[in-house]
């Protein structure tokens, strides 16, 4: 037998056996790994769903029309969220007014005008970094710039909305950029071929096609502004207020601030009743905004051919 001994064959057999048992172990390891991945993926979602069930359960007894129309109170059964609800709702159009023109303008520059230059790169890196600056630092910017430097009165709607507008500006820019970039280049060429100038082309071709995408991104950005608390504390917004704001120069409070104030009230009725009810109202507003964004995306999404 050409130099292969009985011992060699035994050895080979053993190796093959080992290899196959390794494959079995390998398969088990693979199964464990997939199992871990699935557990990890579901962990966050399931925890959140559980917590949301608790909150809605705690809130049900407290959610009624009086809760929405009463001012806050020391007595849980009389407490309401009307002034904060009005404050939060006022914030939406004001933040939109400041952040959309600037954000869309910046996005148009970056997508339509800027050449691939150092300036464009610097601006884009800067925007990505701004999106990562903690929101509390934007609160300090608002406090130091609008209040201390420009002399606006702290805790007013105008200061709050300007601060939040700066906070969401990077998100508005990036999502608008994506929407503008998704307009096919051929549409631009078709427009140029008719001899129109750039701004005309942008106004009549790019923007109409990009607007649904821009709106979707902007609504999501506004929803994230609605949930912000720390910047508003920094600019001196009250955590509780008893009258609704009357104009942009009134002091105001917002739903997240009231949740913060009520979350460590000692009475059980606040922690397990009034605070969850406020959270549910806030989450429903956010849900409505997100739903609108998704609706716009689905309704206007281009069919790719």
């Amino acid at each position: 037998m050409n130099g292969i001994s009985r011992g060699d064959i035994n050895c080979i057999q053993k190796n093959i056996y080992n290899r196959y048992s390794n494959i079995r172990i390998e398969k088990i390891k693979g199964k464990i790994f997939i199992f871990l991945c699935i557990v990890a993926t579901l962990l966050g979602v399931i925890s959140l769903v559980t917590l949301l069930v608790y909150v809605f359960w705690d809130a049900t007894a407290w959610l009624n029309l009086e809760f929405l129309t009463n001012p806050p109170s020391r007595f849980p059964e009389r407490a309401g969220i009307y002034p904060m609800l009005v404050g939060s709702i006022f914030l939406i159009p004001m933040v939109a007014l400041y952040s959309i023109p600037l954000g869309v303008g910046a996005a148009i520059y970056l997508e339509e005008y800027a050449r691939d230059s150092l300036i464009k790169r610097i601006i884009e890196i800067n925007i990505a970094n701004l999106a990562g600056v903690p929101s509390i630092v934007y609160g300090l910017l608002g406090l130091g710039f609008f209040v201390a430097a420009l002399g606006m009165i702290h805790g007013t709607l105008i200061v709050g909305s300007l601060t939040l507008a700066l906070r969401v500006l990077p998100i508005v820019i990036v999502s608008s950029q994506e929407a503008i970039a998704s307009v096919p280049i051929s549409h631009r060429f078709a427009s140029f071929a008719l001899g129109v100038r750039k701004w005309h082309m942008i106004r009549t071709v790019v923007l109409p096609e990009a607007i649904p995408g821009i709106m979707t991104g902007t609504i999501l950005a506004l929803a994230s502004a609605m949930g912000e608390t720390a910047p508003l504390i920094m600019i001196g917004a009250a955590t509780t207020i008893f009258t609704a704001p009357r104009g942009i120069l009134s002091s105001f409070s917002a739903l997240p601030l009231q949740i913060f104030a009520w979350s460590d009230f000692p009475h059980r009725e606040f922690q397990h009743g009034v605070a969850p009810a406020t959270i549910v109202v806030l989450l429903l507003i956010l849900l409505a905004m997100n739903g609108l964004a998704i609706f716009i995306r689905l309704k206007f999404s281009r069919k790719e051919h």
Binding site: T41, L51, G105, I125, N129, V133, W199, D264
Partner: protein, 318 residues
């Protein structure tokens, strides 16, 4: 030359002037958009200048050595002392606990979404995960204080009402989508041929993931980790509500003390000062900016490093 021709020439001239006006309009509109884009850079400068100005004012009254070496933080209660170390220590331990949960879970989530989930599962899970990041942080803080801590108390009875662990758990849930989605993008960018080459050599699927896909996507994964850590450092409301307001130097090796007792992070300390009625000229007001500047430097440099790693060490495939 007849009158008709002259008329035509005049019309041409008029056309040219209209044309010029349009060019001017076009350029100036471009300029307006450029200004909008420039504003984003100005915001960064604005943040730095505003923070620097009051930080400088702060260091006129409190020495920079006291700020970085003293071990007690008491901005309003006398005797006032401004040692930032307890706050940095609190931020560090909170970041460590949160990352220890969020980074592995986020990575495994990314592996599942990129390697194992079919298109339908993916289209359900991805938006579900996005919701986690969409819940306001104040709500997460409430969850931690009102539901998570009492739940943990059943397992570890000695846990304090305000503690690092429950705040860390909820903030980890909040940042999982950030880590998972950037890591997933990086893993999806790894070409299929690399995986197939591994499989063709008889390597099992999960070993291909560990030895081929993850190393090839490492730059994206590391950058997602750093970005996640930077998010945790800047997290404010959940730690303020659930981790307490007790500034102290935490010994990270005494695990039960570090996990189960209250701390104070830099962000929570800022909220505490922001809530107390401080006038624009007090030292406490100025200390707000000094702490804010420290926080800004930390997060901004982490974000820059994250981007640098993402682009510099990215594997390029043809």
């Amino acid at each position: 030359m007849n009158n008709d021709n002259i008329g035509a020439m005049r019309r041409d001239r008029i056309d040219i002037t209209v044309h010029r006006a349009e060019i001017l309009k076009d350029t100036s509109i471009g300029g307006i958009f450029f200004f909008c884009a420039l504003l984003s850079v100005l915001i960064t400068f604005g943040i730095v200048i505003i923070l620097l100005k009051d930080t400088a004012g702060f260091f006129k009254e409190v020495s920079i050595i006291e700020f970085f070496t003293h071990t007690r933080w008491s901005p309003t209660i006398k005797p006032v002392e401004f040692g930032v170390l307890p706050l940095i220590s609190g931020t560090f331990i909170f970041t460590f606990v949160t990352s220890a949960i969020a980074l592995p879970v986020g990575l495994l989530t990314a592996v599942f979404l990129s390697e194992y989930a079919n298109e339908r599962t993916h289209s359900v899970l991805k938006p579900a995960l996005e919701i986690l990041a969409g819940i306001p942080t104040v709500v997460y803080g409430y969850f931690a204080l009102v539901y998570v801590t009492p739940f943990l108390r059943r397992i570890v009875p000695q846990i304090s009402t305000f503690n690092v662990l429950s705040a860390g758990i909820v903030v980890a849930i909040m940042i999982i989508p950030t880590i998972a989605s950037i890591s997933e993008d990086a893993m999806r960018a790894v070409p299929k041929s690399l995986r197939e080459a591994g499989l063709a050599l008889g390597v099992s699927e999960f070993r291909v993931t560990i030895t081929v896909v993850i190393p090839a996507a490492l730059s994206g994964i590391v950058s997602s980790f750093i970005l996640g850590i930077s998010r945790v450092i800047g997290e404010t409301m959940a730690v303020t509500i659930a981790a307490g307001n007790l500034s102290r130097i935490v010994n990270p090796f005494n695990i039960s003390d570090a996990l189960l007792n209250p701390i104070q992070t830099m962000t929570a300390a800022m909220v505490e000062i922001g809530l107390s009625d401080v006038s624009g000229h007090s030292v406490a007001y100025k200390s707000l900016f000094a702490v804010g500047f420290t926080l800004f430097i930390m997060t901004f440099s982490l974000n820059l490093i994250s981007q640098y790693i993402k682009y510099k060490f990215r594997e390029k495939y043809l």
